[in-house]
């Protein structure tokens, strides 16, 4: 098991290298000169060349890449072209917001998603099942910014329960987390329900019934563990998506998260910041994938056997 984990962790290194090469190339190929963007409308050619030299933009492409990687390996992620602050500080002042929203949101979507999914499957065709199916269909098809705006209207403007924008304390995370969670949650409900229904039709459930196992125990001991596998997979994918994909919600709730930083940086061709954010998200995604696989192994002995072997 430890061997497997170490192997997977080592595998992250080539992945990160691959991503860095592709990303650096793309940033270089896209039109626009960061130095020119920075310097504004009135400038002399000398000042521009000087700025280029300062940012290291006068060197050939490969030299630039190798310098960047070399410095990054020494913990220096460069200076933001735009703000002239160290990239590391820039990124890490924003990541906690995004991570907080993502994890609050994943807890909401998994807890609610799995519970409602199970109940809907066990009481198939009941009123609750029909209603939850209708609601999930709406939630899955409505864009998250609209949900965010509606939540703001209701809880912040009308009821005044939660802050309207920005992050002053932890209550500021609630609405964005819920807004992000709802569409994902809808999919988790539908997935849990359908896999649960599939599992309940399996022969081993009949075997359990024939043994005289009470219904509750059949659901939680015999069926749920089998039905959870695809749910774990989807939840893992969702986390990766949310880490890089809460941009719209950050705009709606005016949160200085990683999404808005990434968009601004791309627009300004702020290569060092883009590199750092994307690679950080990539590392997190790899770790989450690994965690997903380990949870998988904990649930299913067949997967565990493969990991050990």
């Amino acid at each position: 098991m430890v061997k497997y984990i170490v192997k997977r962790l080592i595998l992250i290194i080539p992945i990160i290298f691959g991503i860095s090469i592709i990303l650096f190339t793309i940033m270089n190929l896209t039109p626009g000169d960061p130095a020119q963007m920075l310097i504004g409308d009135t400038y002399t050619e000398e000042a521009l060349d000087q700025l280029r030299a300062e940012l290291g933009l006068d060197k050939p492409f490969f030299q630039q890449y190798i310098d960047y990687i070399w410095n990054a390996l020494h913990g220096d992620f460069g200076i933001s072209y735009r703000t002239r602050n160290p990239v590391f500080d820039e990124v890490f002042s924003r990541f906690p917001h995004t991570v907080a929203i993502t994890f609050l949101s994943i807890i909401i979507q998994v807890v609610v998603g799995v519970i409602v999914g199970i109940v809907a499957a066990v009481k198939q065709y009941s009123l609750l099942d029909t209603v939850s199916q209708a609601i999930t269909m709406v939630l899955a098809s409505v864009p998250d910014f609209w949900i965010g705006l509606m939540l703001l209207l209701l809880f912040s403007v009308k009821l005044g329960l939660l802050p309207l924008s920005g992050i002053e304390n932890w209550t500021g995370y609630i609405l964005p987390a819920v807004a992000v969670a709802l569409p994902y949650m809808a999919n988790l409900i539908r997935l849990t329900r359908s896999t649960m229904l599939d599992v309940m039709r399996m022969d081993y459930i009949d075997t359990a019934k024939a043994k005289g196992v009470p219904k509750k125990k059949i659901i939680f001991k015999h069926a749920l563990k089998n039905a959870l596998l695809p749910v774990v997979t989807l939840a893992g994918v969702n986390i990766s998506w949310m880490l890089g994909g809460t941009i719209v919600i950050e705009q709606v709730f005016n949160i200085p998260g990683i999404g808005s930083l990434m968009i601004t940086s791309i627009r300004n061709k702020d290569t060092p910041v883009v590199m750092a954010t994307v690679m950080f998200i990539a590392v997190l995604s790899c770790l989450i994938n690994l965690a997903t696989d380990l949870i998988y192994a904990a649930i299913d002995p067949r997967v565990k056997a493969q990991i050990k072997g």
Binding site: D206, T207, G212, D300, R302, A305
Partner: protein, 330 residues
């Protein structure tokens, strides 16, 4: 006269799907005495599995429904059982071995846990050590190493899984064991082992058994009595001697025996029963076998045959036997 354990009286079961109403059982009558092995023989789709599932009330919810009849177990009607009574009945009084050992064990629970669960459920207050010991005993009984009880189903072969399923079926020493084609999914050498095992266990524990199969050889080897099933009815029922040695048979039974190839005679072709089992959503009138029956005459097409008692143990549901009186067995 042996003591009746299970008596099914005029059982009708329907499956309601979106497209059709499927008549799965059409008046099944069946009796199993204590300690007796009853063979239920028939083609795929004849209603053998449905009969077993009805006994344990395992018909698919909302779709399958008992529309008429009684299933009496020690005189009590099983369909009237409450949820709690059913849970007590299943596993401890009556257990079932399912057709496919590959899918009838839960892949995420250890095999030992799956056997222990049943013992624990039906013996409340039993200590953990006693349960453990009982599981070990069951494993030994079916010829498996008790040390392997901590392993998961995917670590066992098909024949071993079937042994585990049998161990599970017998763990609480039920009065009645429903074995739904326990050897169909296994290869021939393993089949023999499993059958021998079941026969030995039946004799040791005095468990009554319904052995569902389409293999007449298995019936001859294990069963005391047998019923031939066709299109949701039992068309011939009798002691094993009646089924295998009497000169009077339902034409379908004759066809079944006729389709067994004889190893001592050289023939170019096998001798199957012509045609297919009727669609249970659209059953023929009169005798349900008439479209395939070589001896069919006018009455068969229009009138449903009565059950004729040829001897106290032997009955046939066919118009051909209306003139033969009781005792016509010899």
């Amino acid at each position: 006269m042996a003591e009746k354990l299970l008596e099914i009286k005029d059982l009708w079961v329907e499956f309601k799907t979106d497209d059709a109403l499927v008549h799965a059982l059409n008046g099944v009558n069946l009796t199993v005495n204590k300690g007796e092995a009853y063979g239920l023989v028939g083609e795929t789709g004849a209603g053998k599995t449905t009969t077993c599932k009805s006994i344990l009330q395992l018909l698919p919810e909302r779709v399958g429904k008992i529309t008429n009849g009684e299933i009496l177990f020690e005189g009590k009607n099983i369909p009237d059982f409450t949820e709690k009574e059913l849970e007590d009945f299943r596993g401890s009084k009556c257990a079932m071995i399912f057709q496919d050992p590959m899918t009838s064990l839960n892949p995420v629970l250890t095999v030992g846990d799956q056997v222990a669960e049943e013992i624990e459920l039906h013996n409340p207050g039993m200590s953990k050590e006693d349960i453990d010991k009982r599981v070990d005993d069951m494993f030994k009984l079916v010829g498996l190493l008790p040390e392997r009880k901590g392993e998961f189903p995917h670590q066992f072969s098909g024949g071993m899984k079937q042994r585990i399923v049998i161990a599970m079926g017998l763990a609480c020493q039920p009065d009645l064991l429903l074995a739904d084609e326990p050897t169909t999914a296994l290869d021939v050498t393993i089949q023999l082992q499993i059958l021998k095992l079941m026969k030995d266990l039946k004799e040791q524990m005095n468990t009554a058994m319904i052995m569902v199969t389409h293999d007449l050889g298995i019936v001859a080897k294990i069963c005391d009595r047998a019923g031939i099933m066709y299109a949701g009815e039992i068309i011939e029922d009798g002691d094993i001697e009646d089924i295998f040695e009497s000169k009077y048979h339902h034409p379908y039974t004759v066809g079944l025996f006729g389709s067994i190839p004889d190893l001592t005679v050289k023939t170019d072709r096998l001798n199957p029963i012509q045609g297919l089992m009727p669609d249970p959503a659209d059953l023929p009138t009169g005798c349900k076998f008439h479209p395939r029956c070589p001896k069919c005459y006018e009455e068969c097409v229009n009138v449903e045959p009565k059950v004729y008692q040829l001897s106290p143990s032997h009955m046939i549901k066919c118009h051909l036997f209306k003139d033969i009186k009781e005792g016509g067995n010899e």
